[in-house]
């Protein structure tokens, strides 16, 4: 019997896969539960509980289900379970952040026991991506079940490679091997997952032999661990880009003043200023010194290899002189004063990143102060701090593309903010470009993959060339395991036992 | 039973040339500087002197309870012929509380506040005698009854704070008497008490000594108390005994100018409403005493010879004085204020 102990950087809050759409929860529950469509390590879609899917027409999708799959309690998996799941997923009591988004607008119908149809009102190309987020639960075990029942194990009956064993919130989560699993049987007979939030503590736990795998290795320790014979690292690109939102919508922006402190017109509305700021950022230095090479300079919203990225875009080169020239052209030869806001502890090295960028801006004459705050406070104020509108002038944020393709950041970050359409929901700079909006709309209605990919790339180019946002780098995710184990890095940042193998 | 026939019997305690000094940063405090005294069985010796004259330290020296930075530097303390200054700690400990007991000044402070009366009494029996618990308890009860505490059984169950000051002092006395010691050193046991209660305690102490034949050294600064209680009196000044003698002799015919001054300054020895006879000045610091006789600077009778330390001189049977120029014999016995 082989046991595996893994340490997470965050604490899963439930064994209920529909309770909260949150990385640690999703990672934990995916040991026990499965989706119709699975993401592989690179977030490419692969068959899960559905063996195949296709569009019947522009607005109808059909999913063929896997036969002979048994729930952990021995009963058989059928289309009824899928229908049941889709009914429950958006309506979990007390859910802090539900999956409603992925179910809404879709009508599910059972064709036969192993075929399910989904219809939408508009053409919807992202159907398989959406369904890759929703874990299928057993109708039999989970009817009427509350989140507590999942946590207690009663309703935590899945089809996954592991079976529920123990859930002690904040302390440990234990699963054991499902010997009847339909796919590749896991190596591990028992997996214990523990949250250890502090980075160094996590490393210490690994070094002390208390755990076998840790996620989110602090960048500062990567170099040291690389040289440690007892440890091996697994590092891979993530779907997360770190970037800056820029105030595009206010004529006078609250956190920018002239050098003497007097009010000035919002300089960020001038594309030359935005470009100058982007040029001022020394991306290689950030990657090198700050991120310990656990990052890649960014040119757009997602790194190469993801669906819909532009091949044309290259990272903005570090060019302080060019930046100063642009500033002068824009009428700010002596720069101005600005406050850069950012969260503290949301992204890897976020506070230090803000500080480093402030240093760089200050060097081109834009005297920048840094203010970081706890994420909960930050996102609130950044989203609606000024009477329901974004409060800050220039913020550091990150975006991870849950769907694994470019439409997600385009739609949320640079599309014009529109409550009713659900566009630009996270557009905290209120960037608005009608040309761009049109391209995005078109892409979102294009079911044809190739064509959609081209449209998405084009949209990215428009947004980046107009400096709607300033992108900095893509994060690399780093796992460390004790020697003899190997972690296959995942772009979605999930830490799951099936990705751990023995060497 | 007063110490009438001193020569014949062996004294319970004989101290001679005792010097107890404290070696402090400020200098050597000669708290006791050559004290000699003795008590006979059944006798009460009153040790009188002003505050800081070394009375308590004398008492503690006898019990071997001097702590650093203090030390007995010289002299001998003989208990029934046994030398105590050279005894081991353990020997001294087994004497303390058994053969020689002590009563302290402040009844509020002498009993351990967190232990019950019975505990504090029984342990005193048990550390010295191998007796059963019941036997020890019975002794405790009897001792309490003897000092006039009503319903001693229930009192045994009390904590000290549940008793009044007078009661507590009685308990302390009962503890001192519980092992029927040969000598009790009472260090101002009534000073903190009210007159009516003081009278009660004095009465009980007196009766007990008479009954048990225990010798007692009664330390006080109040001549009046001691004159009505003690058989003999020793007057202390600045670490030395300046005069000893039978109570009546000392009180009626003080020989040392200090004793005389002390007696004369008591109001009742003065005409009502007149100015009191006062001893000028104040008690000197024990760190730098005047050379020679320590009382010299305040003494109306000082002569040149007083620049040398006066030796103690026997001036009558059992009557000693440490003065070159003692108050004349010619003076009237009831040394009232000069008219």
């Amino acid at each position: 019997a082989k046991e595996l102990k893994m340490a997470l950087s965050a604490e899963p809050s439930a064994m209920d896969p529909h309770f909260h759409n949150l990385t640690p929860n999703n990672a934990l529950t995916s040991h026990v539960f499965e989706r119709l469509v699975h993401f592989d390590e690179k977030q490419s879609l692969i068959p899960g509980l559905a063996t195949s899917w296709k569009t019947i027409d522009e607005k109808t999708w059909e999913f063929k289900l896997r036969t002979g799959v048994k729930w952990h309690d021995g009963s058989l998996f059928t289309a009824d379970d899928v229908i049941f799941t889709m009914e429950r997923a958006p309506n979990v009591e007390n859910s802090p952040g539900s999956f409603a988004l992925y179910v809404r607008g879709k009508t599910f119908s059972k064709v036969d026991d192993f075929t399910v149809r989904v219809t939408t009102k508009e053409p919807y190309p992202l159907m398989p991506n959406d369904l890759a987020t929703i874990a299928i639960i057993s109708k039999k075990a989970a009817t009427g079940a509350k989140t507590e029942d999942f946590n207690a194990g009663k309703a935590a009956i899945g089809t996954g490679p592991f079976k529920f064993s123990e859930f002690v919130k904040g302390d440990r989560y234990v699963v054991v091997r499902n010997d009847d699993y339909w796919g590749n049987k896991p190596v591990w007979s028992k997996v214990t997952i523990r949250p250890i939030k502090t980075g160094p503590a996590r490393v210490a736990a690994l070094l002390a032999g208390d755990v076998d795998v840790i996620e989110e290795v602090p960048t500062t320790d990567i170099a040291r661990l690389q040289g440690d014979a007892k440890v091996s690292l697994g590092q891979g690109l993530s779907n997360r880009v770190i970037y800056f939102h820029i105030d595009h919508w206010r004529d006078e922006t609250p956190f920018i003043t002239a050098n003497d402190g007097s009010k000035i017109k919002n300089p960020l509305k001038d594309v030359r200023v935005r470009k100058a700021l982007s040029k001022a950022i020394n991306r290689p230095a950030i990657v090198d010194r700050l991120m310990e090479k656990a990052a890649v300079p960014a040119s757009q919203f997602l790194a190469d290899g993801f669906f819909g990225v532009s091949k044309k875009l290259k990272p903005e080169a570090f060019d302080p002189d060019g930046a100063k020239k642009l500033l002068a052209e824009a009428g700010f030869p002596n720069g101005f004063k600005m406050t850069l806001h950012g969260p503290n502890g949301r992204y890897i090295n976020d506070a230090r990143m803000a500080e480093a960028v402030a240093q760089m801006f200050t060097r081109i004459g834009v005297e920048t102060k840094v203010e970081t705050m706890p994420p909960a406070v930050f996102f609130n104020r950044a989203s609606q701090g000024a009477g329901g509108n974004p409060e800050f002038s220039f913020i550091l944020v990150g975006w991870g593309s849950g769907t694994g393709e470019v439409s997600s950041p385009l739609k949320s970050l640079v599309a014009t903010f529109d409550k009713t359409k659900g566009m630009g929901t996270a557009n905290r700079g209120r960037y608005s470009n009608p040309v761009l909006d049109k391209v995005i709309d078109e892409a979102l209605a294009t079911v044809d993959d190739t064509k959609r990919g081209e449209l998405l790339a084009k949209a990215s180019e428009i947004a980046i060339e107009d400096v709607g946002v300033i992108v900095s780098h893509y994060q690399l995710n780093t796992w460390a395991t004790r020697r003899g184990l190997k972690y296959v890095p995942r772009t979605d940042e999930y830490t799951i036992a099936t990705s751990v193998s023995e060497q | 039973m007063s110490g009438s026939d001193q020569a014949a019997i062996e004294p319970t305690l004989a101290v001679s040339g005792l010097k107890t000094h404290f070696f402090t940063k400020a200098g050597v405090v000669k708290a006791v500087d050559g004290v000699s005294l003795h008590v006979n069985p059944g006798e009460i010796l009153g040790l009188v002197g002003e505050s800081g004259s070394g009375k308590s330290i004398t008492g503690f020296s006898i019990l071997g309870l001097i702590d650093a930075p203090g030390r007995i530097v010289e002299g001998s303390i003989r208990y029934k012929g046994r030398e105590l200054t050279t005894s081991s700690d353990e020997e001294l400990r087994s004497l303390r509380g058994d053969r020689i007991a002590m009563i302290f000044q402040d009844p509020m402070m002498t009993l351990n506040p967190v232990l019950r009366i019975d505990t504090q009494m029984i342990e005193t029996v048990h550390v010295h005698h191998r007796v059963s618990k019941a036997e020890a308890l019975e002794r405790a009860r009897a001792a309490l009854a003897e000092v006039g505490i009503p319903s001693p059984e229930s009192r045994l169950k009390n904590y000290p704070h549940e008793l009044s000051g007078g009661m507590r002092q009685r308990v302390a006395i009962a503890i001192a008497f519980i092992n029927k010691p040969d000598l009790i050193i009472a260090d101002e046991p009534t000073t903190a008490l009210d007159v009516t209660i003081q009278a009660q305690i004095l009465a009980e102490a007196q009766a007990l000594c008479a009954r048990t034949g225990t010798a007692m050294i009664w330390i006080t600064h109040d001549l009046a108390v001691v004159s009505s209680l003690a058989d003999r009196i020793a007057v202390m000044y600045a670490g030395r005994i300046v005069e000893t003698g039978r109570t009546a002799d000392v009180v009626s015919a003080p020989r040392h100018p200090y004793t005389q001054g002390l007696i004369n300054s008591v109001p009742s020895h003065n005409v009502r409403g007149s100015r009191l006879n006062q001893i000028p000045g104040m008690t000197p610091s024990l760190i730098n005493l005047p050379k020679g006789c320590a009382f010299r600077t305040r003494c109306p009778q000082a002569i040149d010879a007083c620049l040398e330390p006066p030796p103690i001189r026997e001036i009558g049977p059992g009557r000693e004085v440490r003065c070159f120029n003692p108050v004349g014999v010619a003076r009237p016995a009831t040394a009232e204020a000069a008219p």
């Binding site: - | 009210d194 009465a203 009502r272 100015r275 009191l276």
Partner: protein, 332 residues
Amino acid sequence: MSAEPLVSARGLSKRFVKKPDLAGRLAGHLGADVREETVHAVDHVDLDIKKGEVVGLVGESGCGKSTLGRMIAGLLSPTEGEVQFKGKPRDKLSGADARAARLAIQMIFQDPYASLNPRARVEAIVGEAPVVHGITTRSAMPAYVDDMMRRVGLDPDLKRRYPHQFSGGQRSRIGIARALAVNPEFLVCDEAIAALDVSIQAQIINLFMDLRTEFDLTYLFISHDLGVVQHITDRVVIMYLGRVVETASTEELFDGPNHPYAQALLAEVPRISTEKRSFHPIKGEIPSPLNPPSGCHFHPRCPRAFGRCRNEVPVLKEIAPGRYSACHLNDG
């Protein structure tokens, strides 16, 4: 001595009450044993002190001597009754009169250590109040202080010193100088010599008596030392558990106390004697002032108590001219 009393107490009472708070009262409703606790520290005391007189106040610990003294000195406000100064109720005075009355009565305290501000020099201790009240000016203050120090027998050169640099007797003198500095007429001495050594006591008593003749001072002399009281007072007031039990001129009292308590008290004062004496103390302890005995407070200890003593509070009656006693035995 004028006939008009300088200071008089009229039905003066002081009760210290400890009331249960809200929680306590609630608990009381729930049946817990929560009571208001009242100490009758001083219970309807009448007292006249004539100018130039020295009145001794004696009694055992806790009988209310200090409380009475402090009420007279104006440090405590009475619960009932009033203090009159030169025939006028002191509380009703205002302005300059009130201040004059306040300064006219000064207090000398027991503890020579605690009664001096350890952080002030003698000069400030003695000189502060006269300057504040305009008795002297700031510039004349040093000379004024010198004068005061000389009066109490202190070397004025020492005025730059702090209290800790003095002996107990000297501190007492400083305390007296401080009081004298505001030209008082009346001094309340609360155990003013109790903490001093016998030989020093005599010095301070002499000082009191000298000052009395020199400045025509009036004293309320609180003490438990009956020898001292006998020596220096003209009249003695004896208290027991908050009540005055006997008042008499000193000579009469010491010749033959009337009240059984006074008799017991006087009998038990140790006196220098050439004889060993046997003690015959009164029995019992001083009762708690929280729940004093009924009737005559002294009855449980009184050798001559009878039925009436248990139930009826004896009143202070004049049994001879200028002599008062509160005992039922006097009623025949």
